[in-house]
């Protein structure tokens, strides 16, 4: 079985992000770029399945800037077999368009299982995995906290309020993962040396429909100023009222 892991390059969470002058792009200050956290969890589980012999091949697929070779190479150092970087020339791409490109790549690879994060850390759109499944016409399960694969079926655990849902998903399928599924490993020195010799194919992302265009990035609204509702015990009633009726925190 061939697994494709979809991974996105995103700024670290400690980076300071704000609209750039002109509002057509974002400026990232400080921090580095990383493999989006949930995608990295997906990658870890895929590597485990590869090591266990459940998968015979593991390819990471990244749609992003040319600089994302850094993240793809890291994925290879962690244990993926091959990397595919689809260098994106689009200044902005909506999730459906990204999914169209990624689904095309998965089809070309001949993978039977796609694993990725349930959302990317930067844009939070949280639909790419589902859209890829729809494009491919494959089965789909989201928010997996446990994933096993045997005999053409993926067993997926999903945490719900008060219960764990266990699904048997027939392959081919797309599974998106949630925190807790696996703890990503560090790239070892052996892995880093091995990664130098692994294939990393870089090619321009193919044309895809893109129904959305970016209008602007607006700065977040200023936070409303604080308010003193009174002093001492006398203020408690008013405080409770504000929390209940205005802030809806109670």
């Amino acid at each position: 079985m061939h697994i494709a892991v979809l991974m996105k390059r995103v700024p670290e969470t400690t980076a300071r992000v704000r609209p750039a002058a002109g509002g057509r792009s974002v400026e990232v200050q400080g921090g580095e770029t990383i493999i989006s956290t949930y995608d990295e969890i997906a990658l870890e589980r895929a590597i485990q399945l590869r090591e266990a012999g459940v998968a015979t091949k593991l390819t990471v697929v990244c749609l992003g800037a040319a600089e994302a070779t850094k993240e793809v190479r890291k994925a290879l150092a962690m244990g993926a077999d091959e990397g595919l970087l689809l260098v994106d020339a689009e200044p902005f791409r909506d999730p459906a368009s990204a999914a169209e490109v990624l689904a095309g790549a998965v089809k070309d690879l001949g993978a039977q299982l796609v694993i990725c994060g349930w959302k990317a850390l930067d844009d939070d759109s949280a639909v790419v995995g589902g859209c890829v499944a729809a494009r491919l016409g494959w089965a789909y399960a989201s928010f997996a906290t446990k994933l096993d694969v045997a005999g053409g079926t993926a067993t997926v655990h999903r945490e719900m309020e008060g219960a764990t849902e266990v699904l048997a998903v027939a392959l081919p399928a797309v599974i998106t993962v949630q925190k807790g599924l696996a703890e990503p490993r560090f790239a070892s020195l052996k892995g880093i040396m091995a990664a130098k010799k692994k294939p990393l194919v870089e090619k321009p992302a193919p044309a895809a429909s893109n129904a959305s265009a970016l209008d602007a990035y607006l700065p977040p609204p200023d936070r409303p100023p604080g308010r003193i509702v009174g002093e001492g015990v006398a203020a408690v009633a008013e405080l409770v009222r504000v929390l209940k009726e205005e802030v809806h925190a109670l």
Binding site: G30, K70, R73, K74, A77, F186, A187, S188, L189, K190, I192, M193, A195, K196
Partner: protein
């Protein structure tokens, strides 16, 4: 930085990942409790980071000294004690066996050291022999196929955890009456090898620093570093080991300095006084500029010395320069970071006071700053400025 190739960047990234998860969260705590950084040693060992410059044949990663310098620098940005533990293990505990051991000795000890399953140490300094290491008083007297060792080594880093300690002892005198010094490897658990108590220190407090006593400690002739032919000629080896070790201590000072700037810069941008961020005040900005400039200079010296060693070119002078400059930059930059951060810099919660305490060791261990100046000065007089 133009020196770095993709593999260096990848190693740096993996070290940053491990440091963020395993080293940094514990650094303040182990400074207080003086607990040995076992978690870090284990994690780094599993990834192959405790044998970076050791050839693959002996179980290492087969990478260069530049990679090893980057490793130590990155660890030192967050924890000097852990960085010193690694620097001593690789540069002092492992390197002499690799460089001067017989093939049999290398196969016997290196794979465990390189994989981090064993820790290495180095005993040169004695109570009455520090900078003047030739003043060694520890003796080793031959008795058949063994040497009987008596004496003591001081300030032995990793002393109580080391499976092997490379050390020096006097084995005789030559025709001119000069001491003949031999290098040995002693294994943990050898009868007569006695650990002293953990030293209480200004900094590097989680690094294991101890006295090691030899009390009629019997060591087989097979443990003479480099084999029997090397009896009486071990001292030079130790000096050569220190040349390489100095690059690591330079990397350590550099990492501490970088750690100080890492903390002082964002602090200065956020801290407001007199109507704006203090980083806008020239008196503060100049400090930050000096720190950044020193760090840049130190990094060039350290990386270049490592690259000379990797290219098998003479590097002793450059290693001393790198060690001297980067160590002093470590102390100066961490001092300045405290000043920039004011009262916050002085308290433990903000970490720069720890960096300051740790940095000072770099000016002392593996040859004091004075000894570096002596080495550089002698080399100038002997070989000219070489440019």
């Amino acid at each position: 930085m133009l020196y770095l190739q993709e593999q260096h960047l990848m190693i740096r990234q993996t070290v940053r990942d491990v440091v963020a998860k395993v080293v940094a969260p514990k650094a303040r705590e182990i400074d207080e409790t003086c607990a040995f950084p076992w978690d870090a040693v284990k994690a780094l060992g599993e990834l192959g980071l405790l044998g970076v410059p050791v050839p693959e044949k002996y179980g290492g990663a087969g990478m260069d000294n530049l990679s090893n310098s980057i490793l130590i620098e990155e660890v030192a940005r967050h924890c000097g004690s852990t960085a010193l533990t690694i620097a001593a293990h690789v540069g002092l505990g492992t390197y002499p066996i690799l460089a001067f051991g017989t093939e049999e000795q290398k196969m016997r000890w290196i794979p465990q050291l390189a994989s981090g399953q064993a820790i290495g140490a180095f005993g040169l300094t004695e109570p009455d022999a520090g900078s003047d290491a030739q003043a060694t008083k520890t003796t080793a007297v031959r008795d058949g196929n063994e040497f009987v060792v008596n004496g003591a080594k001081m300030y032995c880093t990793n002393g109580s955890y080391a499976s092997t300690i490379v050390f020096t002892a006097v084995t005789g005198t030559d025709a001119a009456g000069r001491k003949q010094i031999t290098a040995f490897v002693v294994e943990k658990g050898t009868p007569g090898l006695v650990q002293g108590k953990l030293e209480k220190k200004l900094g590097m407090r989680a690094s294991d620093t101890r006295m090691i006593h030899f009390e009629d400690c019997r060591i087989p002739v097979a443990n003479v570093l480099g084999g029997e032919v090397q009896i009486g000629v071990g001292f030079k080896k130790f000096m050569q080991t220190l040349d390489g070790g100095r690059i690591s201590i330079g990397a350590l000072g550099l990492g501490i300095a970088q750690g100080a700037l890492d903390r002082a810069l964002p602090y200065a941008q956020q801290r407001r006084a007199f109507g704006g961020p203090i980083s806008d005040l020239q008196g503060v900005a100049f400090k930050l500029a000096d720190m950044a400039t020193w760090i840049e200079g130190a990094r060039h010296l350290v990386y270049h010395a490592a690259m000379l060693k990797d290219a098998d070119q003479p590097f002793a002078r450059q290693a001393s320069m790198a060690k001297l400059f980067a160590s002093e930059v470590g102390t100066k930059a961490s001092d300045m970071a405290i000043q920039v951060m004011g009262g916050y810099g002085f308290v433990r919660e903000y970490d720069v006071e720890r960096l300051y305490r740790d940095a000072k060791l770099c000016e002392i261990g593996e040859g004091t700053s004075e000894i570096q100046r002596m080495v550089i000065g002698r080399s100038l007089v002997k070989d000219g400025c070489g440019f």
